[in-house]
Amino acid sequence: MRRLRYQGALLSFIAVLIVFFLVGGIVIIAEQRNALTSMVLSHEERDLELMADASYEALLKHDYVTITSFVSRWGEKHQSYTLIRAIAPNGFVVAEFARPATSGIPLYSLKKTVHQGDQELLSFEITGDHRKVMEVVGMLRNRLIFGSILFSLLLGAALWYAMKRMALLPMEQEIEQRKRAEEELERRVAERTVELKQELVERRRIEQELLDREGHIRLLLNSTAEAIYGVNARGACTFCNPACIKMLGYETEQDLIGKNLHEMIHHTRTDGTCYPEAECRINNVPKNGQGCHVNDEVFWRADDTSLNVEYWSHPIVRGQEVIGAVITFIDITERRKLEAQLLHAQKMEAVGTLAGGIAHDFNNILTAIIGYGTILRMKMGDVPFAVNADHLLEAAQRAAQLTKSLLAFSRKQEIVTRLVDLNELVSRTGKLIIRLIRQDIVFETVLTGGELGVMADSAHIEQVLMNLATNAGDAMPDGGRLSIRTERIALNAAYIKMHQYAKPGEYALITVSDTGMGMDENIRSKIFEPFFTTKEVGKGTGLGLSMAYGVVKQHKGYINVYSEIGKGTVFKIYLPLVKSASIREVEQAEAENPIPRGSETVLVAEDDRSLRRLAKTLLEEHGYRVIEAEDGEDAVRKFKENQEQVRLLLLDIIMPRLDGRKAYEEIKKLQPNIKVLFASGYTEDLLSIKDILDQGLHFIQKPMRPRDLLVKVRTVLDR
């Protein structure tokens, strides 16, 4: 580039020289042309003089042919002549030579007259061009131009050489050095640029990675159900995720960012007392650098409602310094509720198990008492003290009823479910309830249209409704309104979550509501517990609602209570609906026929000796022949011994060594058509009972009424 600049300077210098020489040349040419023109004219004049002189002799001889020839030859010899004329004094053109003039060449004219004395002989006129002058000028111009250029080039080259040697060479060397230095610099810059580019690429990669990570973190924060927020050392919020905002009931993160969150959401403890910031376990994390895990505190929402939370707080460390904390929390309100429900259910289960165990033993005892008592009463006949035996039996029956309720609560009673139209059942029960409640209570049943098919034990459900109605009556001492309403309801997932029910689906809902005194939350939470009663001592057993609870649970249903003091109570019973075209409930009221008798031989297997004896006594008194067996094995053995006589097996299900079902299986091998009636007072094995019933076999619940036993035995034998 620099070299080009020098060459440009040199060329400019040469151009100036050329221009200078050319201008000089033009001046010289102009002068030379003028001089040459004058010279040529002078020369031509002389020539003309000569021509005139040469013609004189011929003219004297009138030799015009010679003149003509002379003019012609003269013209041919001189290319610069465009016209030569020899004109006689009378104007006759004796001779003429003409050639076309070359354009662009200036012309001149000369005239010479030949005289003889005073007499004019002939005039010669010449018109010529300055061809020669132009040629000489042209040649001179070309030489001048060529010379100027050549001289300029030579001079320029010489000057250039001198300048280069003296000035440019050192300068060029310096420039070269600088150029090398610049190239070195550029090389280093290029290297550095490459490094910087690599660094830039690396930096961009890292930035992209950071952005990706941030994106991931943001995604995690945004997508996680857990609420997460951060605080600085002063307790001010530095960030929060959408779950946090939502859980705390705010709208945007700006509602939280920069605010002191302890004052906003953590100001009060679970028990309602003030929670000083100095004691705040979250705010103390940055101070002591230790994280914490807490699950017994509450946070406060924007609408001043609280939520039970479990939170984890971790310190944020930068370098050696703890600059804040990040807190992750979840709403455990529902969990707390579930835990309470679980606790309640476990408690109910425990109580049920306890009650069931006691009730079983009581049942056996009461079966013996009622059995023997009934035999005793029958043998007493109409003696005066027979009334005592009646009281005894009556008390025993009440105890049996109590035991039955306990078993119902503990869901260890036998239920026999059939497809039942709940509307019909409620309607039928309503007629009984009207007789049960006082006159000052308005009773109404509101039934939904169509059938409400449920698998239910009618007697038990009736009992539940009766119990609820009795309680309602008690709750309305000054009268009121009792209503039983049925409806069809679909429990969806959301509803179930809200009410903690087990399965979604179609349910029949029985709502029993009263306008009584209602109850508080404390009472409401214990209402289904056995022996819990608000009634006076001796007035209630505390088992009515427990039994209802047990029965509904046994029907795979749910019972719930809503109550407010002074506004009444509402019980809601949900029973799973069964889809059925029609319901055939064959439930015939038992006719109070006379106790049937028989003469067949019955093999009674019962490990409880008193019960075995009671059955033997009852059956023998009514004409039957009885073979006793102590357990299953004994039963099988006795049957083998008396195979021909035995028509019916009365087998307790649960017996030592060989249980009732296995004993029946053995005996059945000997005599496939043998009839059997199972008995059990403890329905711990509901599946066994279900199987028995499913096989078309017969079952009787202990404690059994003598009449029930005798009717059942006769029924099985007659079938």
Partner: protein, 289 residues
């Protein structure tokens, strides 16, 4: 060294001589022929007009033919009379004079213009001149051609004589070297009238000339051979000249000599008898070329 140089030089000289000798013999073995022309035109013009003919004859006879222009008509007559030239073109008067002085020479061919072997002369003046007849020439300046010229002097003098005009009656007269000068001198105003061949008049007529009178017809120019030429050469020459118009280049050669010259035809001496009579008249009047 010296010996060697002499040997080389000798050899080279012999070679050069052989080259030039064989070259000249190869082109024209016979001696050259001289074609003599009377100075009826300028030498340049004569040379221009007769060079093609000389070339033609040279090729036909395989001899080199050169043109020799005589300085005057008298010299020309003497040249042929003394056989100084081999071929000569003679004007009619010159032929008659030559035969009368030197005897007859072999006639080769005569000019035939416009289908005739004769030609005429004209007395001319400027077109704007008041002179319309020969008698008006008295007291006027008159230009003749050569003194020996048939139509430049002799026949016009005869014509003037017939009209009673003598040169002494003229304001002045001059014998110009050729008839073109006569035309030009009239045009330039040097003379009032002049005598020229009709052919020359025709050339200058459009420049501003008119004919006052025309001469009687006289046998035209004639080529004669030297008495020294062998008969065979004379025959060859005659044959070449008479057959010229039938040659491809003939027309061009003829028209170069004279615009209206159509052919060269055989000539007879008797055909010049009328001119002999004119010259006899002039001679009697004391007028001689």
């Amino acid at each position: 060294m010296h010996f060697r140089f002499c040997s080389w030089g000798k050899n080279l000289t012999i070679l050069a001589l052989c080259f030039f000798l064989f070259r000249s013999v190869g082109v024209h073995a016979e001696p050259l022929l001289k074609l003599g022309i009377h100075p009826y035109l300028s030498s340049t013009e004569i040379d221009r007009r007769f060079t093609p003919l000389a070339g033609y004859l040279g090729r036909e006879l395989k001899r080199h033919v050169i043109i020799e222009i005589a300085s005057s008509y008298a010299v020309h007559i003497r040249n042929i009379g003394t056989d100084s030239v081999d071929i000569a073109l003679l004007g009619p008067a010159s032929y008659v004079l030559m035969t009368s002085e030197y005897g007859r020479r072999p006639l080769l061919a005569v000019f035939e213009s416009n289908g005739t072997k004769t030609f005429r002369g004209a007395i001319i003046a400027k077109k704007d001149s008041s002179i319309i007849s020969l008698s008006q020439l008295k007291g006027k300046r008159f230009a003749f051609g050569d003194k020996a010229s048939t139509m430049g002097h002799l026949v016009p003098r005869y014509m003037l004589l017939k009209k009673g005009v003598d040169v002494s009656d003229l304001a002045g007269h001059a014998f110009l070297s050729n008839q073109e000068n006569a035309c030009l001198a009239v045009l330039a105003g040097d003379f009032d009238a002049a005598a020229v061949k009709e052919e020359v008049f025709s050339e200058y007529e459009q420049k501003g000339l008119k004919a006052i009178a025309l001469s009687p017809e006289v046998q035209d120019h004639v080529f004669v051979a030297s008495a020294k030429l062998p008969q065979e050469t004379v025959r060859s020459l005659r044959k070449a000249l008479i057959g010229l118009n039938n040659r491809p280049e003939g027309k061009q050669i003829l028209s170069t000599i004279q615009k209206n010259l159509g052919a060269l035809v055989p000539a007879k001496d008797s055909e010049y008898d009328n001119l002999r009579e004119i010259l006899q008249v002039l001679k009697k009047a004391g007028i001689e070329p």
